[in-house]
Amino acid sequence: MANTDGNGYTIGFATVMVFVVGGILAALATGLKPAIKENERFEKQQSILYAMGVNENTDEEGKDKGSVNFVPTDKVEEAYTNYIKESFVIQNGKILEGEDAFKVDMKKQSKLPKSERKLPLYVGERDGKKFYVIPLYGKGLWDAIWGYVSLDDKLIVQGATFDHKGETPGLGANIKERYFMDDFIGEQIMNNGKYAGITVAKGNNDPINKTKDDNEVDAMAGATITGDGVTVMIKSTLKSYIPHIQKLK
């Protein structure tokens, strides 16, 4: 058997290993990229539709399934073109011509100073009612969190969906559960004519969320920082959209 303790062997082994592993992973990543991209596109469409209330949360008999159910991937493309009528990219208060809102990378935009950010806005229509779907991107406890919120003409939240990259399972990861996302429906982002956003509040003594005009939803136990991240994300993003929604309606 070869001597596996020598320096030459060690360096040789390391070199070969790097190339073998690097080769396998690179080939795999390139090969699977189209399929992964496609899945990510479907997911984005599903989330946008979910925020404006197009989902399969109720079964055929109208009974609530109690869990998060997106439009299935095989139907989402069609549903997306049916429901989303227009989309815009706003930068520094003006609508940019010839930009595809769907292709704006929220992660890149979040690193730019506020005045240079491109803000995508999707306008959907369901049962003759207009929905303004706004993408959000922010920080949770461990990693990125993001989501979509839809507003109506009166700036009342019609739906919200959140997701995360690495929040703690069972705690912060619960932002993608129905009980948290549903609380946002009907909330107002204005307070007496002034912008207030929505705060994920601890101990607001309103766990069923009966009062919708207090700009507050109930926080999740054990996930303070994720909840605060959601608050900051919503507060800082929605504000820049208000003038545009008022112009569009």
């Binding site: 596996t4 060690t10 290993m17 592993v21």
Partner: protein, 220 residues
């Protein structure tokens, strides 16, 4: 288990009880604390570790005669990271919703000390089949504790199991108010959802286990 010899059976059964990776060897505590707030997360993690440890042990065992001892830890880390990334990428392409479910666990699996511990302590010195059994046994032992902790934490922390409401509805709707036990004044223990409580639950399991089997108690 007629298929396996006595010695092989020991490889699977010992880690389940008297040589449990979490309660006896005290490995893998970090992930046991981090992800056991819900039963479902515990089960997902247990299955993932079962897969990675079983496969990883075989790969390391096959390579055991050619791995230079000076860089063996790095080689082990690369093997486990490669395996996890391959699985993650394939799931992302063909089972997207499952991969989203698992995404949070990827980092936790790579750095799980049980995996490195078994590579180092067993797979480097044993044949592939025995290493495979050792990996499966240890992953099962790990999973059993994870599921036990997850069970108690979700039940008493959220009053649910796998999302089903066991003790009734703490909030209810506007007309009825809380239902089930909550109507009688029962409250969920929020502390159960936090990591320190996982440590306490693991401690209690260790206590029960050692008081039933006195041979496990170390001297002094």
């Amino acid at each position: 288990m007629g298929l396996l010899s006595k010695k092989d059976q020991k490889l699977i059964l010992d880690p389940l009880a008297d040589d449990n990776p979490i309660t006896i060897q005290v490995l893998g505590i970090c992930s046991a604390l981090a992800i056991t707030a819900q039963l479902k997360a515990s089960i997902v993690m247990a299955i993932s570790v079962l897969f990675v440890l079983g496969l990883g042990n075989v790969v390391i065992s096959l390579m055991r005669n050619i791995i230079p001892s000076k860089i063996r830890i790095i080689v082990q880390l690369i093997v486990v990271a490669t395996l996890v990334i391959i699985v993650d990428q394939v799931l992302k392409a063909y089972a997207y919703s499952l991969s989203k479910e698992l995404s949070v666990f990827v980092g936790l699996i790579i750095t799980n000390c049980i995996i490195m511990g078994r590579f180092e302590a067993f797979a480097l010195a044993n044949k592939p089949w025995r290493s495979f059994l050792d990996g499966i046994g240890n992953a099962l032992g790990y999973g059993v504790i994870l599921i036990m902790v997850g069970f108690f934490r979700e039940l008493f922390g959220s009053g649910t199991l796998l999302g089903f409401k066991i003790f009734g509805d703490p909030i209810g709707n506007a007309e009825t108010g809380p239902t089930g036990l909550y109507a009688l004044g029962y409250e969920n223990n929020g502390f159960m959802l936090l990591s320190p409580m996982a440590l306490i639950v693991v401690g209690l399991i260790i206590w029960v286990q050692r008081s039933r089997n006195k041979a496990l108690i170390e001297e002094n």
